[in-house]
Chain length 542, copies 2
């Protein structure tokens, strides 16, 4: 790969990136921890102080006008360069990420492909100019009683974005993950709060992106990666007047704290926080008939325990019909969970929180323990767990809707589609909701028709069959949903629409062609699909 790549791979010296530049952390350092052994390892990762945070946000603000004035081709080339640089990190990145997260090598490699593929997808979207949503209402000088002025609309980026990555996807939802990729694609400089659970991974990726910034001739303030010991850095970023939007993936408590901080600013800014979901799966009777219960239970436990259950879309709650077919599903799932071994979770804190969540389910008067697997050999590898609960008991206690992050499943027994609708109406917002039904069975089909409107009001993605743990990076993906799944159901953090979160419309009235943004000029120099008087005209034709 390029010299830039070489410098990035050689550079894991633990220095945070303030406006693209490695600096000595002014507030001490931390060490990465191998969750599989509990051992700390170097290099020490520098922590920034308030002045360094401000240096990064100030540089981001100063870089904004230059960054946002790139052509689509330039922006796309920058995003592809960042993807190439991340690919170019090679084995050093994979080794580091595996050691910092305890995730298997194959998973990290797949996640890297997803991460760079995501950057390249946004490059394509930027090139086509979809998100600019250009509109032109030509002047009507002879209109009575008043002439209409020439009006043209385009979307521009909101300004510097603070990104808080997730622990559970150290590449795809972290430093250069969906939030960063979509904010950069929109034209927003990004200040990443690097995740302390994978700081070396964050810095390696950060250098790859910063090198792409430099190689693209952009001001270095376009990208920073900072670390801090506690919550102060988050508070400082979210309340910084130069930060114009916030993206976060993590816990409900953490996301809500950032939402509250952003809403209390003198000048509030939007927060897109992806937080908490138990991803209800509804099984209707037809899906269990003809031995369907066996295959479904196998697929369920595979999804539940995938990656130690550390997915935002983990199927935490499954609604299973009462009766013998449902019993068969429960029995089979219980046997599989009891045979499953725990794998290393991301951090000691996450493993401890899992233990607390499982204990709460054990202690709950309404639940029954259906199965418990074996703990893994090392530390932080708690045993998978499965519980059952009666539908009424589930509906009666909102605590049973709380996400237990990890491989803990709750099977809710339901007596009818009607009872189910009543239970689902009382559920919180979700990232996903899944329906297993036999579309050829009239009873199932009627129930599905009745339940879908309820699920639509509660989730960002509805699956028919399958399991929610795969989140395709695609134009039609929604990874979002009503609170507490996210802070704002109108956005998605994965897929082609993700960059729209960071754009706002601006209208130009009577503006001479030379002063208009190129997207709105006569002759359509960027060959964009534009809406003329409300009607879509394909690129280059107006």
């Amino acid at each position: 790969m390029s010299e830039h790549t070489a410098s990035a791979t050689a550079a894991l010296d633990g220095r945070p990136l303030v406006a693209g530049r490695p600096v000595e952390g002014a507030a001490g350092s931390l060490l990465a921890v191998d969750p599989a052994t509990g051992e700390e390892f170097g290099p020490p990762i520098g922590l920034v102080d308030a002045a360094q945070i401000e240096e990064a946000t100030r540089a981001a603000e100063e870089a904004f006008d230059a960054f946002r004035s790139q052509t689509p081709a330039e922006r796309a080339a920058f995003l592809r360069r960042a993807a190439d640089n991340i690919d170019g990190l090679g084995e050093e990145l994979v080794d580091r990420a595996v050691r910092e997260t305890g995730l298997p090598r194959g998973r990290i490699e797949g996640e890297r492909a997803r991460t760079t593929g995501q950057l390249r997808m946004f490059a394509g979207i930027v090139e086509r100019g979809d998100a600019l949503q250009a509109r032109i209402d030509p002047a009507l000088p002879d209109r009575a009683p008043l002439p209409r002025p020439d009006l043209r609309l385009v979307h521009i980026p909101v300004g510097p974005v603070a990104v808080f990555g997730a622990s559970n996807f150290p590449l795809a939802f972290s430093t250069a993950g969906g939030d960063t990729a979509s904010a950069l694609a929109a034209g927003c400089p990004v200040v990443v709060k690097g995740h302390n659970a994978h700081p070396g991974t964050a810095l390696l990726v950060g250098r790859a992106v910063a090198d792409a910034v430099a190689a693209s001739g952009l001001p270095p303030g376009v990208f920073s990666v900072l670390f801090g010991a506690g919550n102060d850095i988050g508070r400082a970023l979210v309340t910084d007047p130069r930060i114009r939007a916030v993206a976060f993936t993590g816990s409900r408590a953490g996301g809500r704290a950032l939402m509250d901080l952003a809403a209390a600013r003198p000048e509030p800014v939007p927060v897109f926080a992806e937080m908490s979901s138990v991803n209800p799966v509804v099984i209707l009777p037809g899906a269990l008939a003809d031995e369907g219960a066996t295959a479904l239970a196998d697929a369920y436990v595979a999804s539940l325990t995938l990656g130690s259950g550390q997915f935002c879309t983990n199927p935490g709650v499954v609604f299973v019909p009462e009766g013998p077919d449902g019993d068969r599903f429960v029995d089979r799932a219980a046997r599989l969970v009891s045979e499953a071994a725990g794998n290393t979770m991301l951090t000691a804190g996450i493993a401890a929180a899992f233990d607390r969540g499982v204990r709460a389910l054990e202690d709950h008067p309404g639940t029954e323990a259906a199965a418990r697997g074996e703990a893994g050999p090392g530390p932080n590898a708690p045993a998978p767990a499965l519980f059952t609960v009666d539908g009424d008991a589930f509906a009666a206690d909102p605590r049973l809707q709380e996400e237990v992050f990890g491989a803990a499943g709750l099977l809710v027994r339901h007596s009818s589609a009607q009872a189910l609708a009543g239970i689902l109406e009382r559920m919180e917002g979700q990232l996903t909701a899944t329906l297993h039904a036999d579309a050829g069975d009239p009873g199932d089909l009627a129930a599905a028709h009745a339940l879908l409107p309820v699920l639509e009001r509660r989730a960002g993605r509805l699956l028919f069959g399958g399991w929610p743990t795969g989140v395709e990076v695609a134009h039609a993906m929604v990874h979002g949903g009503p609170y507490p799944a996210t802070s704002d159901s109108r956005g998605t953090s994965v897929g082609g629409l993700a960059l729209n979160r960071f754009l706002r419309p601006v209208s130009y009235q009577g503006m001479p062609d030379a002063l208009l943004p190129p997207a709105l000029r006569e002759g359509d120099p960027w060959r964009l699909d534009r809406r003329i008087d409300g009607t879509l005209v394909p690129g280059g034709q107006a």
Copy 2:
């Protein structure tokens, strides 16, 4: 017109509309006030209590699924029926609005045309399905290493919306104004908090809309108009768990209070508040040359005093070059303002707030009083006022950026385009920013190029020439902008994009055709423009 219209016009009995039904207010009543005389007049308008508010929001929630499942043609017909019913109110509506607001008859008639035209514009947008933004990523069963599932995305409405109308546009920004029209177009039931400054107008329009709801076979919960004496009704609506979004037009204090309430809910919801703007107008030297100063001053004072200055887009702050041409502009504007008479403002409270704002400008050590007109003959008709201030003094005191709602202008003298950029960088967010320049003058053109990025970051609409007080209802209009102009710069309350504020994306994975929303089905039954694998395919072709 239709019988429905007849029943609406006959119905101004003062009863609020709870789920479309006139009810006796359980919390007393209020009387409308004629601001031109200070006289109260009937009928008494019923105020609702907490139970009636909850009845309205509960009905809105119950109506949601039926309302949102309308076809585009049905929704469009409903919107057009509402428009027809409002037109059908005839002179009774105009008489009542004139008496309640003190606005001239011609203005009310024009505003009515704008209001019904707006409903009809949204009907057209709904018919075309623009806002659904349908996307399809077909399955790739043979993709390695994993097949891709079929993914389809459409936008659905967020749920019941609470609308707080403005006092200054009793039709176009009130009961069936832009917020209500766009929320209904999106498929959201609406609960209007009727404005106490024009309660009879609100009820007449409300009955016209409620009659359209009934005539369209929709559940009556789709539309309610409620009144309350103080802030309790606003608090009750914004914190009601059934309300999923809020739209507001009014004061900065009022909007911020609603934002804070919505953000503090257990389940926060988006607020679109349009609040406060001084709409900076930047005059560059070329625009004043060749006697340009005279025409510009004439147009400025006409815009400043239009409708007693009671426009969100009133040009409150104008930047005028130092030097003789600028002096000529100031002198001419001062003479015109000194000759202008005050007209009746909307309410005694608004007139009093105007007086306080003018006094604060008078008392400010940095400003000079340039002119004061005559007060109008009746009450609540304060004299227009004009002040000047030096650029440095303006930049030094943020209080000088505060909106004085009404015909009070502040002329800021600037020494150069560079000094101007520094001043503008310190301004708050605005609805509009206007540039007057000679596009053929190299100095002006260079200055415009330098200033436009600064203005873009601060405003939702940029004008070249003209005055911001006309807000065209068009596809390319933005009536929005960074805080405090609005609560969220990503939205607009006027124009084709306004309904997008009330929509959220939902993705369907592996869903059988019969269970998909029609917008996403094979064969494109609604003939929508849809994005297939990211590429736009015109309606009916996929």
